[in-house]
Amino acid sequence: MTPLVHFFPNMYRDSVALMQLSTKIAQLPGIEAASAQMATDANIDLMVEAGLIDQRPAARPNDMLLVVRGEEASLQTALDFAEAALSEKAKGGDGTVQKVPPRAIVMALEDEAKGANLALISTPGAFAAAEAMKALKLGLDVMIFSDNVPVDEEIAIKRYGHARNLLVMGPDCGTAIINGVPLAFANVVRKGGIGVVGASGTGLQQVTCLIHQAGEGVTQAIGTGGHDLSEAVGGLTMLTALKQLGGDPETRVIVLISKPPAKAVADKVLAAARATGKPVVVCFLGAALADVESRGFDCALTLEEAARRAVEALKSGKATFRSDHGASAELQGRAKRLAASLGLGRKYLRGLYSGGTFCYEALILLQDVLPALQSNTPTKQTARMPDLWRSSGHTIMDLGDDDFTRGRPHPMIDPALRLERISQESADAETAIILLDVVLGYGAHENPASVLAPAIEKARAAAGGKGAPVFVAQICGTDADPQHMDRQAEILRAAGVDVSFSNAEAVALVRAVLENIKG
């Protein structure tokens, strides 16, 4: 087999360019080996040593030598390829080089994000505290949406932030509104004079939405994350938030939302609340009225009360609102109509919540009146459901809990799980009421009513139409949310759903319906 030996006269190419060319030619079909080199003595030696050529041509150092071994038919193709490659013109790029997008906080601060003051972290939990610590050490405040953060890391970042007046919202902080900007899952709420700080995401959403619906607005809504008021963490973020709200001239009334904390933590937090010198409405959901009032604070027993009493405090200085919807003739009328439509034997409540705090609030509002109330997230007074996947008796579930969201999206984002459950619960002949929350705002499903309504209609038809369970929904949102609260309500009402705009009202309605069944 004779190799192709071809000289390109007066052709200079860099040795690297020639290696590249050689490699490309060698990869052509039918080619065994190829080498393109400047035809110096030394290079020709290399070709002989490599066994590419047997006969040594004379050196021509200004020429380029191409040697190709392979099938006879392929050699001309190889030569054509080489000629084409060697006559190629510069691609004429514009000289611009693509920038490396920022991959780390410190890198972003050098350039695109110069002057940044908040890191919003939604990475896997195992890395979230490290990202937060980096941000804090670089002088940024942080909001950590991620959950499953190791508690020792949570304590470390909160201590670090607290000592430096840096807010550490979260871990597991689903919502915040800072200077009018909604962060993560948040509603579009008017600016106003009320500052809200809370350990619960949906609690904050409910209170801010109801403030908006009452015609007022918020300065800030600061989420602390669900574990902030635990004894281990000690309310460090709540303390920083209260200090900042205290110093904020725009904030004239403060709302504080949490489950009842341990006494030591409550003492610290309430002392900080007092130190703001501003009216503070305290909503320790589940605490007794006297416990809070005896410490000299206005006490809200429901999220709705927290919102409405704050608005009253802002407007008149005097808070009087109580969530006593049961006393309303209008609500009683709705309850009677709903109860009357139920078929015989339908007697139980099935609450299918997506918001954990709504579920909790419903449990504390109903636990004294509904014996044997069950939940996947029970309170001290209620029972744990024996089987997560089959309800019995009165059951109120948080479908957003880890029980249900492990490995699948949250029901506020993806309704699939709740739709299945709606059909399952309405197929149960003992189900009287299916209670739902519909959370709007950024981060939530773009049109939740439009997927719930057909599922509800289908479920009702499957349950026999007349006499089927009734559906009670509360919408947590505002008219300024991307989903439009009123439009969502219309869609649900058209599907025969009773719509409330606060959880407390929906729960009061449920209670009245159940009382009507009993009666």
Binding site: V16, M19, A50, V106, S122, A135, L140, I178, Q244
Partner: protein, 470 residues
């Protein structure tokens, strides 16, 4: 810190991009990170990295270390044998490249080169005898770096070999390198045949003493200016040294011709040898870089990387604040192969020459030598992009080494181990590819990247050595 709620929001969004969209829609500023788990995806290392981030002690230490690096003035001051010049070279000792490695674990080229050095020193009469001697542990095998020295590829340096002596006149400390034998069958690729040993002997007996006189009569040679000039002539002074070698040749030649002490035949032989080797300057470039980085080494708490070196088995780095190696498996090299060779023939990354990248030249100055990027099928634009990418993991730009393609600003220099661990951007290295068997030589060249694990280990080790107020 000022209250967050009194400021306009400027958010760095880490994780779900949709959260950033909302913030921007509402008129506030948000920058989405292209986030990936830092520190190679190990949460413990990621936490340690966070502890070191923004630490004022480290910032101060890095300022000191980087300042010393920039201030270093490497000057070629002499040529002597390794025995005379290097610390602790008594008895039977052979230095190798990279972090420490036992004889039985060495890669092929390094083993071959060790045996060659035993023959060269006359400690054994043949290869079998040499093997037995080494296997019996009669010869100390230690890294060049432990003797203030560096050597390309196998890095083999034995007591009778001539070495360059480079003194940092700012700190007064010295660094050393063996001399470049040229291409083909050479000791640094593990060849140890009679012609290789003969060349080494000639280098020791004729070239070394000749260069010693020339350097002495030159009265020292500033190396930074030569490197700087070469960077404007298409070299990156790691894998392309044609310009720097020519510049060196000019200096050597004029002095040699004027010398009255030198034998004309020895001068002719020496200069012919130098002229025939485009990589002759490489070893001087390496010694200069070693001198600059040694000046920066040993500042407590500093995360500045002061060495990157490979032995064909492991890749090792050192940081200024901790005098120990952090190692990971040496990578393979992505590149082009000489005719007749392919990836299956390649050894893992080998040699101390990554000291050049550590000092901000080589791959870091790829924009100066765009031809290099063709090894991986790139364009000059890719070469520039590689250099620009290194800006994100370095403490600054070295004004002594300006690059035309960077608008004549300095090359990125001073690798911060934290930045590598945090961004996942690995230092790029231009390098030759050795055959995995001893003695075959160079089979290609290309690009590779320093393993991330070295940097995350360094970060965690430094974190463990410090206390934090958290």
């Amino acid at each position: 810190m000022a209250d967050l709620i009194s400021q306009d929001l400027n958010v760095i969004n880490i994780g779900l991009a949709s959260f950033g969209d909302v913030i921007r829609e509402k008129g506030a500023k948000a920058t989405d990170l292209q986030w990936q788990p830092p520190a190679g995806g190990n949460p413990k290392d990621a936490w340690n990295l966070a502890l070191l981030t923004g630490d004022p002690r480290i910032a101060e230490a890095n300022k000191v270390a980087y300042g010393r690096f920039l201030a270093a003035q490497p000057v070629l001051v002499g040529v002597k044998t390794a025995r005379e010049a290097l610390p602790d070279m008594d008895g039977k000792i052979i230095l190798h490249s990279g972090p420490p490695v036992k004889w039985e674990n060495m890669c092929g080229p390094q083993q071959g080169a060790v045996l060659g050095a035993v023959l060269f020193e006359g400690w054994a009469a043949n290869l079998d005898e040499a093997s037995r001697l080494v296997e019996a542990g009669s010869i100390r095998l230690e890294p060049c770096h432990h003797h203030r020295a560096v050597g390309p590829m196998a890095g083999i340096t034995s007591p009778s070999m001539p070495v360059w002596i480079v003194r940092d006149t700012a700190s007064g400390s010295e660094a050393y390198s063996n001399m470049n034998e040229g291409l083909g069958k050479v000791l640094r690729f593990g060849a140890n045949g009679p012609d290789v040993i003969a060349r080494l002997k000639w280098m020791a007996e004729r070239m070394g003493p000749t260069l010693a006189v020339i350097v002495e009569e030159m009265g020292g040679l500033d190396l930074k200016p030569i490197m700087a000039q070469a960077l404007h002539m298409g070299d990156e002074v790691h894998n392309r040294n044609a310009a720097a070698s020519s510049l060196l040749f000019r200096k050597l030649t004029t002095t040699a011709l004027a010398s009255k002490r030198l034998d004309a035949k020895a001068v002719a032989e020496t200069l012919t040898f130098v002229a025939g080797n485009d990589h002759f300057f490489l070893n001087l470039s390496m010694a200069a870089c070693k001198a600059m980085l040694d000046a920066a080494h040993g500042v407590p708490c500093s995360t500045l990387v002061t060495a990157m070196a490979r032995n064909g088995v492991e890749f090792g780095i050192k940081i200024s604040g901790l005098d120990r190696w952090f190692t990971a498996e040496a990578p393979f090299i992505e590149g082009l192969f000489f005719p007749g060779y392919g990836q299956a023939d390649a050894a893992r990354d080998l040699g101390d020459s990554a000291i050049t990248e550590t000092a901000g030249v080589g791959g870091f100055a790829m924009a100066a030598a765009p031809a290099i990027v063709q090894f991986v099928g790139g364009t000059p634009r890719d070469a520039l992009a590689n250099t620009l990418r290194m800006l994100h993991i370095t403490l600054g730009q070295n004004a002594a080494f300006t690059l035309p393609a960077l608008d004549f600003t300095g090359s990125p220099a001073g690798i911060d181990a934290r930045l590598v661990a945090d961004t996942g951007i690995q230092p790029v290295i231009n390098t030759g590819i050795a055959h995995r068997q001893a003695g075959i030589g160079q089979v290609g060249a290309g690009l590779t990247y320093a393993p991330l694990a070295c940097f995350t280990q360094a970060v965690s080790a430094l974190a463990a050595s410090m206390t934090f107020d958290i």
